[in-house]
């Protein structure tokens, strides 16, 4: 695909721009009438390495980072007009081979976390299954000029012409964005890393694998402290694994981690150096009469997020999202059904392994709305105050620029409306696992396979609907 080619998609004029090295960049425009406007980036060539594996906004929302199965990190920057353009792309992890254990280590980026701002550069942690890396993304706009022994093209000068010494001078140049690895935190995990989380003290972070949680200092790469260890002496006694771990947003001593048995534990690092004993255990009693073979599998927590206020915990299991008040351990304060209609389909979902999909969940900036993904490229939003919920679809067919997303409805049995979708026609290969919400505004990023969709609430008061209709190419 050559750069800047025009083509027509469903009757609307689109501009496709090939960006430097990996993703195609597409913006569409359409009349609008529902709450979400659209921009999107996607890749027309469906290379498995391009499948997006994590999405994360930075603290200000000015930057959005995605990681993919090919070990790349792409950072988007929000332009003054409001849309996100590619800012930097770099290869964070490479495939490796552990010769001692005869194991291949995938380059897939499991998680990205931004560090709070230090200086004009930006810092983020990225991790694959084994190794966490700290990256610095910085801008350079000056270049030194003037050699003594060579001219600017690099040819050697005639030495007889050198009569004085020349000190190089810095001159402005085109902005160059560089990503450089600052630290590599390796060799601390025997199992696959599923989470990383930066502590509010800004000097430590945690990394969690299936059985252990380690605490690192951001400046120290050769030592980490094991704070949680679930590994039984005999691996046959293994009854649960850690699925996610996260630090509290304000209290540097609190961390939450969830397990495959559907529990979430809160640990207080002040009490002990080892957090094997939890301070609180969030678990909802299951009605024994409703127990089935799948009960434990669907109750496994696939994501945990503290609310921005730090008061609530959001957990996602296979069928629901739950909001827990940190002060109440025995049951969630709110439970939302994500796709209750799958209750009857668990058997086939088990056979296709879909039942083990790990959906993420996220809060909006004010903790009033919850978002999480589902199948068929659908994602769900729940308004906590009004208890209204909506199902939206992120797919190329419906994502036309400035189009407003139409709510979708999945029905069990007979269709009531033309637009309803029956459960049997859902495509379980199309799933939205990774989502992110801008920390301050109603802008959301949705990763569906190798496509990244960025939607914006059309009601935000900064004039986004007055955008130029076709935008120019991002910087090469």
């Amino acid at each position: 695909m050559s750069s800047g080619c025009l083509f027509v998609l469903r009757g609307f004029l689109c501009l496709i721009i090939k960006d430097g090295n990996l993703s195609l960049f597409l913006r569409l425009l359409v009349p609008c009438s529902s709450p979400y406007e659209i921009y999107l980036f996607f890749n027309l060539v469906c290379d498995p390495a391009d499948v997006i594996s994590t999405v994360e906004f930075n603290q200000t929302g000015e930057f959005l980072a995605t990681g993919d199965k090919g070990g790349r990190v792409v950072i988007f920057q929000r332009e003054p007009q409001g849309e996100y353009n590619v800012y930097s792309t770099f290869q964070s992890h490479e495939p490796e081979f552990d010769y001692l254990k005869s194991l291949e280590i995938e380059e897939k980026i499991n998680k990205i976390r931004w560090l709070p701002p230090h200086n004009p550069a930006h810092f983020l942690l990225s991790t694959n299954d084994k190794t966490v890396k700290l990256w610095k993304v910085s801008e350079k706009d000056k270049r030194a000029e003037g050699y003594n022994l060579r001219d600017e093209e690099g040819r050697l000068k005639d030495l007889s012409t050198i009569t004085t010494l020349q000190v190089p001078v810095l001159r402005p140049m085109d902005l160059l964005v560089e990503a450089s690895p600052r630290r590599v935190f390796a060799n601390a995990h025997a199992y696959h890393i599923n989470s990383i989380s930066v502590n509010s003290d800004c000097e430590t972070y945690l990394s969690a694998d299936d059985l252990r949680i380690n605490l690192w200092h951001l400046n120290i790469t050769d030592r980490s402290f094991n704070i949680v260890d679930l590994k039984p002496e005999n691996m046959e006694d293994l009854s649960e694994v850690i699925t996610v771990a996260e630090f509290h947003p304000h209290h540097c001593h609190l961390l939450a981690f969830s397990s495959s048995t559907g529990t979430t534990r809160l640990c207080d690092m002040r009490a002990r150096a080892l957090c094997d004993q939890h301070a609180k255990l969030f678990e909802e009693a299951v009605d024994p009469s409703r127990r089935s073979f799948f009960s434990e599998i669907v109750s496994s927590v696939s994501d945990v997020k503290f609310s921005h206020s730090g008061r609530y915990l959001l957990t996602r299991d296979y069928l629901t999202v739950k909001v827990w008040d940190l002060n109440m351990e025995n049951k969630p304060v709110e439970t939302y059904q994500v796709h209750d209609y799958l209750q009857t389909k668990l058997c086939s979902l088990y056979e296709s392994d879909c039942i083990f999909d790990k959906f993420e969940c996220t809060w909006n900036g004010t903790d009033s709305v919850i978002m999480t993904g589902a199948y068929n490229n659908y994602f769900r939003m729940f308004d906590r105050a009004s208890l209204r919920d909506v199902t939206l679809e992120a797919s190329r067919e419906v994502c036309k620029r400035r189009a407003v997303l139409q709510p979708r409805r999945v029905c069990v049995g007979k269709k009531r409306k033309e637009t309803d979708v029956s459960v049997d026609s859902l495509d379980f290969r199309k799933k939205i696992l990774h989502t992110a919400w801008h920390p301050k505004e109603n802008i959301i990023a949705i990763a569906a396979s190798n496509n990244l969709y960025i939607f914006q609430d059309r009601l935000t008061p900064n004039g986004h609907h007055n955008m130029p209709e076709i935008q120019s190419a991002p910087p090469k």
């Binding site: 030194a144 030495l159 050198i162 010494l165 190089p168 000097e203 002040r270 009490a271």
Partner: protein
Amino acid sequence: MGTGTGGDDSLYPIAVLIDELRNEDVQLRLNSIKKLSTIALALGVERTRTELLPFLTDTIYDEDEVLLALAEQLGSFTVLVGGPEFVHCLLPPLESLATVEETVVRDKAVESLRKISQEHSPVDLEVHFVPLVKRLASGDWFTSRTSACGLFGVCYPRVSSTVKAEIRQHFRTLCSDDTPMVRRAASSKLGEFAKVLELDYVKSDIIPLFTALASDEQDSVRLLAVEAGVSIAALLPQEDLEDLVMPTLRQAAEDKSWRVRYMVADKFSELQKAVGPEITKNDLVPAFQNLLKDCEAEVRTAAANKVKGEVLPEDSRETIIMTHILPCVKELVSDTNQHVKSALASVIMGLSTILGKDNTVEHLLPLFLVQLKDEYPEVRLNIISNLDCVNEVIGIRQLSQSLLPAIVELAEDAKWRVRLAIIEYMPLLAGQLGVEFFDEKLNSLCMAWLIDHVYAIREAATCNLMKLVEKFGAEWAQNTIVPKVLGMANDSNYLHRMTTLFCINALSEVCGQEITTKHMLPVVLKMSTDQVANVRFNVARCLQKIGPVLDSSALQAEVKPVLEKLATDQDMDVKYFALEAISGMYLFNLPTYIFSETFSFSSILFFFFSFSLSP
């Protein structure tokens, strides 16, 4: 190197250095930065100020190691920019280095800034340096604000009282900064800043800041305040301590976070010194008892390290330890955590010198015995390694009954590192227990280590034999260990046969010429026909090693033929070491053959051929 007509040859090396400041190779850039003074010298003070420094100010994109070198260089650049009069020219590059994200670079930049602050005249300090500190202190990024924290202390004493007030205000602001990083930096510099403040301001300014930081919501800030508390306490008159510092310190000792309590335990000796004997007795001793009983093992470990209470008041030290500390120590001996016990084991013996003979026998001895039987080897080892303290007070015999089983068990521990550690204490034990006890109980252990299946143990065992012989003398060696060592020469395992050779290597010198020639040499020579090449070439090496101990007749008559034979061995390595031995020994005996210090293999060969043709 060109020799042009108009070019100046002396410029060339400098030109290279300047160009390499921006070479793609980090190492070359680093080299250039390290020779920055040479460049500056060549450019002269004027151009250094107007061209070199502006360039350096903007080169903060470089690798950390280059920036670190740059920050360090600039600290001693005053002369190169024209002396103290112009020292402020160094501030811009250091200011930009003080804002980079890498902590080590920032710290070095701050260190250099502190250094050059002393070279500023009082006027320059207020005109140039203080504004820089203020800029850093109100910077947008936490990196610059953390750097500012380290600079207040150096300028405060030398500025006017209005500026002093501003500096205090800036420091106050940073102590309540939004980011924990800055509060940590402020907390860690609080003590230092307090030292340069007038006592009144310490009371009116520093104390509230200290109290606030010590109750910060982040425990990483609170724990740093403990250290500041120690410095502040040392500054205040005794009568103010109780009101101003003690409430906060007491609160820190009972903090909810174990990390803060750990810090109190860790700084306990300094704390005692700072608050003086009276408060120590009334306040700190009970606090210390609690730390020894803390629910977190890390805290107990840190506290256990301090049970000796070095800074307790001389007159009441013994009573305090007896009545307050000892009961806790007794509990710690059976702690559930091995690190606590092992920390205790490393200091508990030191208590005996304080408590004297009677108390030691009555109270401490039982504890030593319990620890000697502890399930963790590290605990037992720590007791054994400190035996000398007890020996001075009650004599080691008191312990020997329990000591022996402990030693035997450690000597046979499944972990080779544990065995290695106990071997290292053998000479010490031997010295204290005496030769009879040793022969009776420990000798067999020392011999058993020689046939350990781990090489490191066998190696340590040979070394141990040497030290024992140094202690007990050659005669003892001849009677007890030499026969056993030599006996191993007939072992069916070649590794054991080699151990014989290694032992001979170690022992020949301490045993002296007679034993070596009479007893050891025949065995070595006999082994030259061993079927295993490794043994044979070790024979060659061994002969080289013991050569200096032997007399020349034995060398000529016995050693030489054997080495010559080995030099024609089929095995390459045997040949090599035989030749090396021959050359080495002739260097010793026949001064006419002089080898260069680094002779090569071919030169040895050459020598060998001429040697074998000559007789």
